[in-house]
């Protein structure tokens, strides 16, 4: 018969090993280390084609994940996909001229959104220049000064949707056919 003390020690080791295994699964195996704590702001982009994009797809800039897709909806007026992205709050200096493209990781990999930094607009500055050209006093009422960054609820205007492989091949084939037709006619 095992004494109580030995049994207790073994149970202690067992529980510790189990918790260590869980910890290892959480830290080493899963993506906890790259998990965001939910803080961040939502940015909206409209795409003509968002096929292959999924909720929780990564949103990257320069190859670094800045956030994730939080929602994909459909706008029945413009027939576009409305993609809401949650960007981590520490990346709060993205210029509002940033453009969003849907890319594919690898040849057959998952779709992700790649952000390309663009110029930050500055309504205040624009108005001043405009006024200077027209020779009037700048009217800065209600205008924001300083470079504008993406913030909660901003809409990214420049977008390019998913590239569909079939479409590309079809375009390529039709171009190719046109060329060969031209050659024949030229001869």
């Amino acid at each position: 018969m095992m004494t109580t003390r030995t049994a207790e020690i073994w149970v202690g080791i067992f529980v510790a090993a189990g918790l260590a295994a869980l910890f290892m699964l959480a830290m080493k195996v899963s993506n906890l280390s790259s998990y965001t704590s939910g803080g961040g702001y939502d940015v909206i982009a409209r795409f003509d084609d968002a096929s292959g994009l999924k909720v929780r797809s990564p949103v990257t800039m320069a190859g670094v994940t800045l956030g994730r897709v939080s929602q994909i909806g459909f706008d029945p007026k413009t027939y576009q996909a409305v993609v809401t992205m949650r960007i981590e709050s520490r990346y709060n200096k993205l210029p509002d001229g940033t453009s969003a493209n849907i890319y594919t990781a690898g040849l057959l990999g998952e779709k992700y959104i790649g952000l390309l930094p663009g110029p930050a607009s500055n309504p205040c500055q624009d108005e001043k220049l405009q006024a200077q050209l027209e020779g009037r006093k700048p009217d800065l009422k209600g205008l924001k000064c300083g470079p504008q960054y993406l913030k909660q609820g901003s809409v990214i205007k420049l977008t390019q949707g998913s590239l569909i492989l079939e479409k590309l091949i079809a375009q390529f084939i039709s171009k190719f056919m046109d060329k060969s037709d031209d050659k024949k006619q030229g001869k």
Binding site: T4, I13, G18, A21, L22, K28, S30, N31
Partner: protein
């Protein structure tokens, strides 16, 4: 009379089934209502965690290692055709964390610990130890069944976690050590694709459910066994068979709920 006999037999077996089901549920709620008294005597639970969990460690460690190694070999052979051998870590870890970890652990647990629980309790009943306890105004459900039940529920998720972790390491040995997959790719692809909540936590929930079900079946079969040597042996067999069926059936339902389209 002769014509009615088969119908009567069918009715009796149906009634028997539902009576057993009812008794199982009454026992389940009795155990649950007795759990809080265990806080005062946690030593009983520790004693049972030792016999249910610690003694199952060896079989879990060895089978986890080998399952992971086989996954590494099989996954590599398939993936290398697509030039995607770097995804080996994802294949190994996802199949272990989501499915094989909880399910295989639960099957082994039913065979190793569940059968032992049933045999022990059944024999206690056959030798009238449980009746003796009742004579001394000791509730056998609280004194004997509840600690074993709680021990099973505690041990099962821990065993499943150990199984998955050891399996991932086994896959690493084969994939990286033997077959030459890049070590960094093995871990980084895994970390990129395995979600903490979607995959790891769902695996833990699965193993917890299996732990409850397997221990419940084992404890009930023992408590409900016919108090003869034959009855105990039958109850032990039933524990393993019913546990396996319940695990696989429930696994489908849980998987459909967690990863299905709903």
């Amino acid at each position: 009379m002769n014509i009615v006999d088969p119908v009567a037999r069918l009715g009796r077996s149906g009634l028997d089934f539902f009576q057993r089901l009812g008794r199982a549920h009454i026992l389940f709620f009795n155990i649950l209502s007795g759990l809080h008294t265990l806080l005062l005597r946690f030593g009983l639970v520790i004693q049972q965690v030792y016999s249910v969990g610690v003694l199952s460690l060896l079989i879990i460690l060895v089978s986890g290692l080998f399952v992971g190694m086989v996954l590494g070999l099989q996954g590599y052979n398939t993936l290398v055709d697509f030039g995607a051998a770097e995804s080996l870590g994802v294949v190994v870890s996802l199949s272990l964390v989501r499915e094989l970890g909880p399910v295989v652990t639960a099957l082994l647990f039913a065979g190793r610990a569940g059968s032992a629980l049933t045999a022990e309790i059944g024999l206690m009943k056959a030798t009238e130890q449980l009746s003796a306890m009742e004579m001394m105004a000791v509730d056998p459900i609280r004194r004997v069944l509840a600690p074993r039940f709680l021990a099973g529920v505690i041990s099962m998720p821990l065993l499943a976690a150990i199984f998955s972790a050891v399996g991932v390491i086994g896959g690493y040995f084969v994939g990286v050590g033997l077959l030459g997959v890049d070590s960094g790719a093995y871990w980084s692809q895994m970390q990129a694709k395995v979600g903490l909540y979607d995959d790891v936590m769902n695996g833990v929930i699965k193993s917890l459910v299996f732990g409850v079900v397997v221990t419940w079946i084992a404890v009930f079969e023992g408590y409900d066994a016919v108090p003869t040597s034959e009855g105990v042996s039958r109850a032990t067999t039933r524990t393993v068979v019913h546990s396996a069926l319940a695990i696989l059936g429930l696994d489908f339902i849980l998987t459909a709920l967690m990863f299905g389209a709903y």
